[in-house]
Every structure is written in structure tokens, then in C-alpha cells.
Amino acid sequence: MALTPKAQHTLETGDFESRRKIVKFAVVKNTEGPHVETAELASFEQAMLPHLDAAYNLARWLVRNEQDAQDVVQEAYLRAFKSFGGFRGSNGRAWLLTIVRNTSYTLLKKNQSVYLTTTFDEETHASSHELASPATILEHAEDAKLIKNAMNELSVDFREILTLRHQEDLSYQEIGDILKIPTGTVMSRLARARAKLKECLVGNISQEK
């Protein structure tokens, strides 16, 4: 057994049901020949590991902390490998991101009390919105800390759609496929998400002053 100590450590700290699943999975997979699996694993890794950053970035924005994001991505890759045989499309990144998203939601639901309560304060933000001029917004839109905080104040469905559109550069169609919503809904949700982000940004600017 040539196990690297570092890899083992990562596995042990990730308690996100991954170990239990691995055992179950191993039993099923072992009924096939080992060479077929090795080749399938190689083609899976070749197709999916290049999208690791995209997977991690999405998970990181959804679950909002480093360790959980790592667990989610690890679990998502295992799930993806399990259903890789059924993957016939050409867009591996969108396919993987769908699985990362679903896995993130599994974790978010499990920790519902912690995660799904948004820290967004409706009153402060709503009242200050009207006071901000476009010039103020333009001035602060490049403040990395303000933008990051404003993003993290958004609800999870807004965070995910903004990440997919503006960081992964996906089309309405691709986003619709990932979120399982029509493209019309993608458009309106994106518009609302950007408006809300602007609101949060403005709210934070006025609090800073």
C-alpha cells in the first residue's frame, strides 16, 4: 500500500460521509475487472480534474468556508465518477458543476440552522439604497473587501447564479441546465441578484462611513 501521508490526512479530516460512501462504492465497483476501472479512472481524471478550480470556487461561494468546500468537492468528484458512465455530453465543466452544486446543497441542508439563515439586514439596506448615487457605487465597485462581503450577504441562490454567470462565464442556457430552471428565470434571477448585490454594497458603504 503506497499511501501518501498527506492524502490520508485529507481523507480523515473530511468527515462528510465520504468514508462510508467509499466503502459502499468499492464493493460495487470490484465486481468489474481492475483494468477497465483503471482506464475509466484515467479518462475520468483527464476529463474532470482540469475543472477542479471551477468546482472549488463554486463550492466555496455556496458553503462559504474552506474546509466544507473541500469536503464538498471531494464528495462531488466521487459522485461524478460513480455516474461518469452515464455522462455523454460534451460540456464536462457544466456537468461537474451540477454535481458540485447538488452536493453543496446536501451539506447546506444538513447544517440548515447555521447556513440557510441569511445575515442580510433588510431594513438598513433598503433605507440606504436610495441615498447612493451611481457615482458612489462606481467608486466602490472595485473595493475587493466590500464586494466580497456584499456577495457573502446574498442568499445562496443569488450567490450561485452570480458565480456561474460572471466567474464561470456560462450562458443562460448552461446555467438553466445546471439549476434546472428555464432561461427566462435565469434572466430575471440574475437581474434580481445583481440588484441585491448593489443594495448590499450600498448598505455597507454607508455603514462604513
Binding site: 503506497a2 499511501l3 501518501t4 498527506k6 492524502a7 485529507t10 481523507l11 467509499i22 468499492a26 465497483k29 481492475p34 483494468h35 477497465v36 476501472e37 483503471t38 482506464a39 475509466e40 479512472l41 484515467a42 479518462s43 481524471e45 483527464q46 482540469p50 478550480d53 472549488y56 470556487n57 473541500q70 471531494q74 468528484y77 466521487l78 465518477f81 460513480k82 460534451s90 460540456n91 465543466r93 457544466a94 456537468w95 461537474l96 451611481p134 457605487i137 462606481l138 465597485a141 472595485e142 473595493d143 475587493a144 466580497k148 452570480l162 458565480t163 454567470r165 460572471h166 466567474q167 462565464d169 456560462l170 450562458s171 443562460y172 434572466m187 445583481r194 448585490l197 448593489k198 454594497l201
Partner: protein, 276 residues
């Protein structure tokens, strides 16, 4: 169109989701109406803030190793052999040697041949992803591999410069052809630098452009008589490939930006090179 209609179209316009005709009408209105133009500027700033100012979290180093380890656990192998990125078609060597030890009897030759044929047939049916059907596919795979490698191995550029007048002489010096280098910064494609690459058995120039968070590798090499025709647009493993050529060069653009952006990149590049 009046201002209200324009405001309703502003989001899909910003996201590049309108058809060209309507898109042009919105564009024209924005040029003429200062109020809408101002509103659009704020919208663009928000989009830009998310794509450029908000952090893009890169996967930590250990995560990759962790995933590869748990995948190997899942298939029940932990051999280093499995860690090879691209495992070639392996025709069960243990079987072959075991039979090889007793091949004095003629029928064992048949058995050995049958075993090899069987293994080949199984391999061909069970591993369709490893088969490479034609030259275009092989080249596409190579192009994507080079693209991915350039992003992974901290070897995106040999000469890092946004100035075409720095990149071009450098490439000219290293290659036996003079690849065109153009500046597309005003259209949102920023030149990052140039690199020497090797593709399809010849040296190629690789120009690297950045579109928002995404990189485009543009591979250029001189046209020859035996160029593979193949498709001009391909989607493969989540990447888009776009091929075109002029009288002197073959161009292959590879990226994970959406296909529309890549198409407009191609058009802009062609316009600039045609002007020479």
C-alpha cells in the same frame, strides 16, 4: 424603443444574450440616452465587480491529491500505476505471460491469439473514450492538453507582455515563421504573452489572451498542403476549439470561455490580420 423597454432588455444585453438586431438597437439607444447609459454603466460595474474584483477561489494544493487518493480507494487500487494521467490500453499482461510459459503445444498459440484478440475486442468496446477516431480528434485532444498544461504548470507564457511589439519580435526570433500578434485589449481580450509550443509534429506559436477570468490559447503554425480539414468548431471536455486559416497560417483557439466569445475573438483577430 423607449427607455422602459430598454431597461427591460438591459440585463440580457449585458449578458450577451440578445440577438444581434435587438442588441444593436439597445446599443444605439444607449449612445443617445444619457440616463439609460448611466444606468447601464452601473450594471456593467456590478458585473465587472463580480468577475474581476470578487475573489475566485483556487482549489488548495492538497485537495487534488485527496481526490485522486479517494478515487483510487473507490476503484480498489492504490498502485502508483493507476496514478498515471493517461493509462494506455493495457492488455492484461499477466494472462499473456502465464500462457507464454506453456506455448510448446500448438493449440496454445491459438489460445494465446484468442486471448489477445478477446482482450483487444473487450478493450475496444469497453474503452470507447480512449479511442481516437480521426486526425482532427487527435489534434483536438493535443490542443486541449497543451492548453490545460499551460494553465497548470505555471508555464502560461515564455514572454509575458501585453505589448504586441514585445511578443512578436520574441516569437519571430525563436521560430522560423513570423506569426501575427494583434492587440485586442479594447474589445476585452487582453494579451498576456506568448509561448513556444509543439503540436502535430511541428513548432507552433501560442498566444495567450485573457477574457475576464479565462484564458484563450491561440496556436498558430504555417499552413501546409496536408492540413487536416475536419470541423471548424469543436466542443470537447468542456472546452471550445475554433479553427480557421488564412493564406499563411493555421489558427486554433482553445478556451473554456463560451463559444460566442470565442467566435468574436476569431472575428476580431481575422479583421486585424486582414488589415496587414
Amino acid at each position: 424603443m423607449n427607455c422602459e423597454e430598454i431597461r427591460n432588455l438591459m440585463d440580457p444585453y449585458l449578458d450577451g444574450e440578445l440577438d444581434p438586431v435587438i442588441s444593436q438597437r439597445v446599443e444605439q439607444h444607449l449612445r443617445e440616452c444619457a440616463k439609460c447609459e448611466g444606468a447601464y454603466e452601473v450594471e456593467t460595474a456590478m458585473a465587472h465587480a463580480i468577475s474581476q474584483t470578487a475573489p475566485y477561489y483556487k482549489a488548495p494544493r492538497d485537495l487534488r491529491a485527496g481526490i485522486q487518493f479517494s478515487l483510487r480507494q473507490a476503484v480498489g487500487t492504490t498502485t502508483s500505476q493507476a496514478a498515471e494521467e493517461t493509462a494506455p490500453l493495457q492488455v492484461t499482461p499477466s494472462q499473456v505471460t502465464r500462457r507464454g510459459a506453456t506455448f510448446a503445444m500448438p493449440w496454445n498459440w491459438l489460445a494465446l491469439a484468442a486471448a489477445i484478440i478477446l482482450a483487444a475486442v473487450i478493450g475496444a468496446t469497453l474503452l470507447p473514450r480512449l479511442r481516437q477516431p480521426d486526425a482532427a480528434q487527435v489534434l483536438a485532444t493535443q490542443l486541449i492538453a497543451n492548453h490545460v498544461r499551460s494553465l497548470m504548470a505555471d508555464h502560461l507564457t515564455d514572454v509575458a507582455s501585453s505589448d504586441q511589439h514585445t511578443v512578436k519580435p520574441w516569437l519571430d526570433m525563436k521560430l522560423d515563421f513570423a506569426a501575427p500578434v494583434v492587440d485586442l485589449a479594447k474589445d476585452g481580450f487582453f494579451l498576456v504573452g506568448g509561448r513556444l509550443d509543439y503540436l502535430d509534429n511541428h513548432a507552433a506559436a501560442a498566444l495567450v489572451y485573457q477574457r475576464r477570468k479565462h484564458f484563450i490559447n491561440l496556436f498558430i503554425w504555417p499552413t501546409t498542403a496536408v492540413d487536416s480539414k475536419g470541423p471548424t468548431v469543436m466542443a470537447h471536455q468542456g472546452y471550445h476549439l475554433l479553427r480557421w486559416s488564412d493564406s499563411d497560417f493555421n489558427y486554433w483557439a482553445v478556451s473554456d470561455v463560451n463559444i460566442d466569445d470565442l467566435e468574436s475573438f476569431k472575428q476580431l483577430f481575422e479583421q486585424q490580420t486582414a488589415r496587414r
